[in-house]
């Protein structure tokens, strides 16, 4: 299951930062006197230039974080920190599941959040400021003058050790993903391979997010159909679910109800969620049934009209519709229907339904009625 989690700039930034820090570290520790590699002078020149490059990158990254709202990924939380630690100390050995899932606005686990935030607002600024102090304020006839380089170098060296230790731990922890190379591949391609459960959680969170957006739009009661068009496309896009391979599986396991109806109007396939929403005991019970059973008389006419349009090749989205369940109760959902195509022929209709909270639905209906009056 692959999900798109790292945008292109983010990946570019990550690898540039990685290279810069690597270079700064090896030249820095040569300057520190641990070994000789480039030659002292060359090390100093490289370190200074890499520092300027690094600073430039940081400026771009700050801009990116704020314009995309990605900075929210780093809002610290103590929730699940303990679980995350327990996971690394114990759970991981027993094959336990990751205690948190990657969600749209939460692609890092709480430990990652804390540590990356620490890097961003403490370690890196400290390195930058001590580094530039090191570069500029060590000689006289400058604006600010240090009484000596000792304190600056001490801070800078401590930070350097910390960064190196971080990098090592960081690289190791990338192997704790779905598969050992998963995380690194994700940072290269943007698509992270997740296990089904995690992917499902991600998808659901994406959907929830999408629905919340939908709700907000619906509440304005303006231009809904166009919006829903976009919402669907966007959901597919954001979900980053690769339709060609696993879309079906996602749907099968997701909270969205999936259905497939042949030209004659009989269900040939529904997923678990669908049969749950319609309160069938088993999925199979729905097979062969005509779709008319799911609607009231009036609603059926409307549905039939849509059904026929889809058979002609249209894609139809309904806002809120009411369904008649097997046990006689009613529920609300939105529905999307697209032609089911096999061998270049429209052989039926497929689509999915997203359940809507009845209370909300009631409110909606009331609103709509209100408007009609």
């Amino acid at each position: 299951m692959k999900v798109y989690i790292y945008k292109i700039f983010e990946r570019f930034w990550h690898w540039t930062q990685a290279t810069s820090i690597f270079l700064l570290a090896i030249t820095g520790f040569e300057i520190h006197g641990f070994y000789s590699l480039f030659g002292y002078k060359q090390a100093v020149i490289y370190h200074d230039r890499a520092a300027y490059g690094f600073i430039t990158l940081i400026v771009f990254a700050i801009f990116w974080h704020f314009t995309t709202g990605e900075w929210r990924q780093y809002i610290p939380t103590m929730k699940f920190v303990k679980e995350q630690i327990d996971y690394y100390i114990l759970g991981i050995f027993k094959g336990a599941e990751h205690p948190t899932n990657k969600l749209v606005y939460n692609k890092f686990n709480p430990l990652q959040r804390l540590i990356y935030l620490g890097l961003k607002i403490m370690v890196i600024p400290i390195m930058v400021f001590s580094g530039f102090a090191y570069m500029f304020f060590n000689y006289p006839n400058q604006t600010i003058e240090l009484s000596g380089l000792g304190p600056v170098a001490a801070v800078h060296t401590m930070g350097a050790f910390f960064l190196v230790v971080f990098v090592i731990a960081h690289i190791y922890l990338t192997t704790t993903g779905h598969k050992p190379l998963t995380s690194i591949k994700a940072m290269v391609t943007g698509w992270e391979d997740m296990d089904e459960k995690e992917a499902r959680a991600m998808v659901i969170s994406e959907m929830k997010h999408g629905l919340q957006k939908t709700k907000a739009h619906l509440l304005t009661a303006k231009d809904q159909s166009k919006f829903l068009d976009e919402a669907l496309a966007e959901t597919e896009n954001i979900l980053g679910v690769k339709k060609e391979n696993k879309f079906h599986d996602v749907i099968a396991n997701s909270g969205a109800g999936y259905f497939k109806i042949d030209r004659s109007g009989h269900y040939v396939e529904v997923n678990k969620a669908w049969s749950n929403l319609y309160k069938f005991k088993k999925q199979e019970d729905a097979f062969g049934k005509h779709y008319s059973l799911s609607r009231s008389k009036e609603a059926f006419i409307e549905l039939e009209r849509s059904f026929n349009s889809v058979l002609k090749g249209e894609t139809i989205e309904h806002g809120l519709v009411m369904r008649k369940c097997q046990d006689g109760s009613v529920g609300y959902h939105t529905i999307t229907m697209t032609p089911w195509i096999a061998d270049d022929q429209i052989v039926g209709v497929e689509g999915f339904i997203l359940d809507i909270d009845p209370e909300y639905a009631a409110k909606m209906e009331w609103n709509v009625n209100d408007q009609k009056k």
Binding site: I8, R11, F12, W15, T16, A18, T19, S20, L23, I31, H32, G33, S36, G39, Y40, K41, V44, I45, Y46, D48, R49, A50, Y52, G53, Y88, I92, F93, K94, G95, Y139, P140, N141, Q142, E145, S147, G148, L149, G150, A153, A154, T157, M158, A160, F161, F162, V164, V165, I168, A169, Y172, T175, M187, V188, T189, G190
Partner: protein
């Protein structure tokens, strides 16, 4: 395809960008190492060699001079006011007013200062004034107002024949007439006839002034090398109205009238910002005089306490070291010589103090002249108009007589024409020699003497090496004990200084992390195998 481009964009582009940023020289001026920046200097090629005056055409110079003073008077008959300039110059006065660092202004000069070579001039004048720019300075009664006693030709002779003997008189039999007609601007050997030979022999004192520099290679001195600019002393020690620039911190103590590299090379001559910045705190000499005494050995140690060994004929014994340098002389004691010497390094801001014969010894070794400066002496903390810079210094170490009771240095009377006059070099009796020396100065002496260790500091300026021989970064930026600055420890120097605690904690953390990763990873691998098994 799109995917491949993305991967390249994401993985390769960063490496390329960082590589370009790091290897490109857009933020450092590019070095053209062989060509240092130069101002205020006309190269030899463009100098005019035309003589404007031919002194052999002057009738007054065509006489047989009976006395050297007659020659001086002949000079002054045309150069009517020049004697006034010379008579305030310390080549004549051997004395000047200087403010000692942290102390009062006093009269100080060759006349009254002590060193740790031949100790002092007092009572030995006749011997020492061989290098006085005058005639007849035999004792302290010399008349410094008598212009005819000025020795013009020691500086202006161009025959190379001139030589001075005791009391500063010309060597008997010298052709003063020929010399008088040859006069011109001082050349290397005019200055060198005294300055090369300080301390009683070639290159003994300075270590960076050697008669071989009259005709030397670039390896020895890039400025004075025959094959290069072949610069004379006065090219740097510019002189007007007999005011000679430059001074020696064996005698001076104020930050004035200095000759600097910057006067021709500017303070940013390298085409390289990082190196140029070093000149804020590092004297040019530090990197560019990596070793001194390159052509002839110089004296590093002079121990008077062993002097006095005589042979059966009561003549002073001499011994030589493996290189043929005199390592013992019964008249003077034990010597240690060295060549291609690595300088010692000190902070120096142009101010100095001197140990006067009236000063009480508080520290041993006694510092004959102490160079002021420290790391902290810069910017808002600076105590002179120039910040302290790291300087290469020749340190001459000695052991010389002092008063066991008064704790002062003592001046021996060394020289006399005859025996029985208390001169050490005649009678080899310290007690008499020291009594006579101190009596000559009217200074107290308890009669009890010993020998005390002394140090004298000679900031190096000459024998600049070719650029490719200059010190490299790691000569100083290293923690190795042989690092050039390993003893200059009052500041944090990158690459040399470490905070042991930070390093230990840092490396400890690193090891713990690596171990942690290995252990954690190991357990994971094992655990996974087991899980798969079950």
């Amino acid at each position: 395809m799109k995917k491949v481009i993305q991967v390249i964009l994401v993985l390769l582009l960063p490496q390329i960008i960082v590589f370009v940023v790091v290897t490109n020289s857009f933020n450092t001026k590019h070095a053209a190492p062989s060509e240092p920046i130069m101002v205020n200097y006309i190269t030899k090629k463009h100098q005019s060699t035309m003589k404007t005056v031919d002194h052999s055409k002057f009738e007054i110079l065509q006489q047989e001079f009976k006395r050297p003073q007659d020659l001086t008077l002949a000079c002054l008959s045309c150069h009517t006011e020049r004697h006034k300039e010379v008579m305030v110059n310390n080549h004549w006065t051997w004395d000047r007013k200087e403010k000692l660092h942290g102390r009062d202004t006093i009269s100080i000069g060759k006349k009254n200062i002590l060193n740790n070579f031949c100790v002092g001039v007092g009572s030995n004048e006749k011997m020492c004034t061989k290098c006085h720019a005058g005639y007849g300075y035999n004792d302290k009664s010399f008349d410094f107002t008598k212009a005819e006693n000025i020795d013009c030709i020691v500086c202006h002779d161009q025959t190379g024949l001139y030589e001075k003997v005791k009391g500063g008189m010309p060597k008997p039999g010298i052709d003063l007439n020929k010399i008088a007609q040859s006069v011109g601007k001082p050349e290397k050997d005019n200055c060198g006839s005294c300055h090369y030979l300080g301390g009683g022999g070639n290159n003994v004192k300075h270590g960076d002034l050697d008669s071989k520099m009259n005709d030397c290679t670039r390896e020895i001195d890039v400025h004075m090398a025959k094959e290069g600019e072949d610069m004379s002393c006065t090219a740097c020690h510019t002189t007007q109205n007999h005011k000679i620039t430059g001074k020696l911190y064996a005698l001076s103590s104020e930050d004035k009238n200095r000759v600097t590299c910057e006067q021709c090379h500017t303070d940013r001559p390298h085409h390289d910002k990082i190196i140029d910045n070093h000149s804020y705190r590092v004297a040019c000499q530090t990197c560019h005089i990596p070793v001194y005494a390159k052509a002839t050995p110089t004296k590093m140690i002079w121990d008077w306490s062993t002097a006095g060994r005589l042979d059966e004929d009561s003549m002073p014994i001499t011994e030589k070291d493996a290189e043929g340098n005199v390592s013992y002389n019964g008249m003077k004691g034990t010597f240690v010589w060295d060549d291609h010497v690595i300088p010692e390094y000190y902070w120096f801001n142009g101010l100095a103090d001197h140990f006067l014969i009236t000063d009480t010894i508080k520290n041993i070794p006694v510092q004959m002249n102490s160079l002021a400066g420290s790391y902290k002496d810069k910017g808002i903390w600076a105590e002179s108009k120039s910040v302290s810079k790291i300087w290469p210094v020749k340190v001459h170490r000695g052991k010389q007589p002092y008063d066991l009771v008064h704790k002062t240095l003592l001046l021996p009377k060394l020289w006399s024409e005859k025996k029985g006059d208390s001169a050490y070099w005649m009678d080899y009796n310290w007690a008499n020699s020291l009594t006579a020396g101190m009596k000559y100065l009217h200074l107290p002496y308890s009669g009890k003497y010993g020998f005390v260790e002394t140090e004298m500091y000679w900031p190096l300026n000459h024998q600049v090496s070719p650029a490719d021989k200059a010190l490299q970064c790691v000569d100083c930026h290293t923690a190795k004990p042989e690092g050039r600055l390993s003893k200059l420890n009052d500041f944090y120097l990158p690459g040399r200084n470490h905070f042991a605690m930070i390093d230990n904690i840092g490396l400890g953390l690193l090891i713990i992390t690596l171990l942690g990763v290995a252990i954690h990873g190991g357990i994971r691998v094992v655990a996974k195998k087991k899980l798969n098994h079950d």
